[in-house]
């Protein structure tokens, strides 16, 4: 079991959280959607695993590279 941290690709706000803690996700699955530069930017899972931590809620402002989600693979 390894932990994988998913960082925000952009500075922006969290628009929608699509998955919840405890969910199993596959590589490429959308975990949440950010809004930045008037674009919806999906945060995709980089690996197959289980979400053990979701650190943000909709409407929250995030910085580039801020860790938004932790997976256990």
């Amino acid at each position: 079991m390894a932990k994988v941290e998913l960082g925000s690709p952009v500075t922006g706000t969290v628009w929608k959280v699509e998955r919840a803690t405890g969910d199993s996700v596959g590589e490429g699955d959308v975990i949440l959607i950010l809004e930045s530069m008037k674009m919806e930017i999906p945060l995709e899972s980089s690996a197959d695993g289980v979400i053990v931590e979701l650190r943000v809620k909709p409407g929250e402002a995030v910085e580039e590279e801020q860790i938004l989600c932790v997976l256990e693979t």
């Binding site: 690709p9 952009v10 490429g28 930045s36 530069m37 008037k38 674009m39 919806e40 930017i41 999906p42 995709e44």
Partner: protein, 531 residues
């Protein structure tokens, strides 16, 4: 590399042959067993192990094997030789000749040899080999550059540039130059690493900087660990000083082999064709739906490009730097191409200062080695905001436009979605017949309808009883004109293609480009002052 036993050849003075054998043996010992053990303990290979791992088995033809410092007894008989801290020669990679060399860290930390004639580094003999034989140069960098000790040995200090970068600079226009930073590189070797077409360093086990922690401490009073100062997290991901990071030395060598597989031996040759087993007429259904209908929704451009290119052929340069643009070497129908693709996942693909710098280097690389460029365009413009302005985005972005306008290599511009403003101009070369193609999802202009309407009709909108509704109304009036089909009607874009037929179309035009590439071989001439 000789089948017979040299010692058995008659008419050769046995003592001379045995001296040669002894001296070669001394050179193979590098800095001695203890020094080699210390190198291994750091998780690093010796320079001889590196050359062996990098090149085809048995292909290394060493040059300068005997250079070093001999120690003689009172009767002037040789006792031992400390080899020069640089190992160099010619070898083959995937059957093709290269000049290869690297500092030997086990001898005085790879500091410069101090002889009148240098084996390696800037101005070293290894660079002459690459120049004279017109073959790629592979630098395996693991040295700290000059040593203060050489002042005493020479009796004077050396003016900067006596062992200058002139040859290093010249090579950038003639043969592929690759550098792997495999230890701590400061000063000359660090500078040498930058003067390359492709550079790679080992994450967590190599560092590169203008000056290391002791100098930083003395100059600025800052205490900083060498990895925090010049590890890959800074030098690759943040600064783009080095192009790619590798997980190990073996991975760095594999990346270099991969890079060279796309390159010709020199600018007088065409880039080599590779595996062409992926059918050129393959149409991928997934391309039809990869761009979301809602135009504010981002999608995975990496995936899109991979569906089009020859299967397994893509090699990404600078994947962790300037991520708003993706630069890949790839093949279409077996022929090398350079791909420049905007990445809508990173600020909608807006070009920032890092992305512009990365795109400029990549276009320059492709243009130098006659590799056609395909632009996959989805760019809303330059990055905006105070931070972007402070970083000089506008100037760096216009440098990208300047370089795109000077390209002599064939280019194909494929607009996938947005192509707006000056950043859009950096994605095509309109000096020539080079094609502008588009998917039906494309949209373009000087600026998007939304922002454009708000700016041009400010008075009208503000005077309306419901300004928001008035803005929407004017937008609706203008939107039909933004259809890409209207532009095609005016023949202002050459063709709109079905996304599924992208691969066959691109493969055909890249194949057709070959005659033009052939007629334009050689060095490029450049003119104009860079903005």
């Amino acid at each position: 590399m000789c089948a017979g036993n040299v010692n058995a050849v008659p008419d050769v003075d046995a003592s001379v042959v045995s001296e040669l054998g002894f001296r070669r043996g001394e050179s193979r010992k590098l800095g001695g067993d203890d020094a080699v053990e210390r190198q291994h303990a750091k998780g690093r290979l010796t320079v001889r192990e590196r050359i062996a791992a990098m090149t085809d088995p048995g292909s290394f033809r060493e040059i300068g094997t005997l250079a070093g410092t001999g120690r003689y007894d009172e009767h002037n008989r040789l006792v031992s030789v400390t080899p020069a801290p640089y190992v160099a020669g010619l070898a083959r990679i995937d059957g093709r000749a290269v000049a290869i060399g690297g500092e030997d860290f086990t001898v005085r930390g790879g500091t410069t040899f101090g002889s009148l004639r240098r084996k390696g580094g800037q101005g070293g003999f290894i660079e002459d080999l690459a120049h004279h034989y017109r073959v790629p140069l592979v630098n395996l960098i693991d040295g700290a550059g000059g040593s203060v000790l050489s002042i005493k040995r020479r009796g004077h200090s050396v003016f900067p540039g006596v062992h200058g970068f002139e040859r290093s600079v010249g090579l950038l226009g003639t043969v592929p130059v690759v550098c792997a930073v495999l230890g701590t590189a400061a000063g000359g070797p660090a500078g040498r690493a930058i003067l390359s077409h492709f550079s790679v360093m080992v994450r967590d086990n190599s560092q590169v900087f203008a000056a290391g922690p002791p100098v930083v401490k003395r100059s600025l009073g800052q205490e900083i660990d060498k990895n925090d100062l010049g590890g890959a997290a800074v030098a690759v991901d943040k600064a783009g000083t080095i192009h790619n990071a590798a997980v190990s030395e073996e991975d760095a060598f594999a990346q270099i082999r991969r890079f060279l597989s796309f390159m010709p031996d020199n600018v007088w040759q065409l880039p080599p064709r590779g595996d062409a087993s992926d059918p050129v007429d393959r149409c991928d259904e997934r391309l039809a739906s990869i761009v979301p209908q809602r135009r504010t929704q981002a999608y995975n451009m990496h995936r899109l490009v991979k569906l089009v290119c020859d299967e397994g052929s893509t090699f990404e340069l600078q994947p962790t730097y300037g991520k708003a643009v993706i630069t890949l070497l790839a093949r279409l129908g077996g022929r090398p191409v350079g791909i420049v693709a905007n990445n809508p996942m990173v600020y909608g693909g807006a070009m920032d200062v890092h992305a512009a710098r990365k795109q400029i280097h990549f276009m320059d690389l492709c243009d130098t080695f006659h590799i056609p460029i395909v632009f996959f365009v989805d760019v809303p413009g330059f990055m905006v905001g105070l931070r972007a302005e402070e970083a000089g985005t506008l100037r760096e972005g216009m440098r990208a436009v300047f370089f795109a306008g000077q390209l002599s290599v064939p280019t194909i511009t494929l607009v996938v979605r947005k192509c707006y403003g000056m950043a859009g101009m950096a994605t095509c070369n309109k000096n020539d017949v080079d094609l502008k193609l588009a998917w039906p999802t494309a949209e373009w202009g000087s600026l998007p309808v939304e922002g454009g309407v708000a700016a041009a009709f400010r008075g009208d909108i503000m005077a309306a009883p419901d300004p928001a509704a008035r803005e929407k109304e004017i937008e609706a009036e203008f939107r039909p004109y933004a259809s890409p089909f209207r532009t095609a009607e005016a023949f202002a874009v050459e063709e709109i293609i079905d996304p599924r037929e992208t691969r066959p179309v691109l493969c055909e035009f890249v194949a057709l480009a070959e005659a033009r590439l052939q007629s334009g071989l050689g060095k490029r001439s450049r003119s104009g002052v860079q903005p």
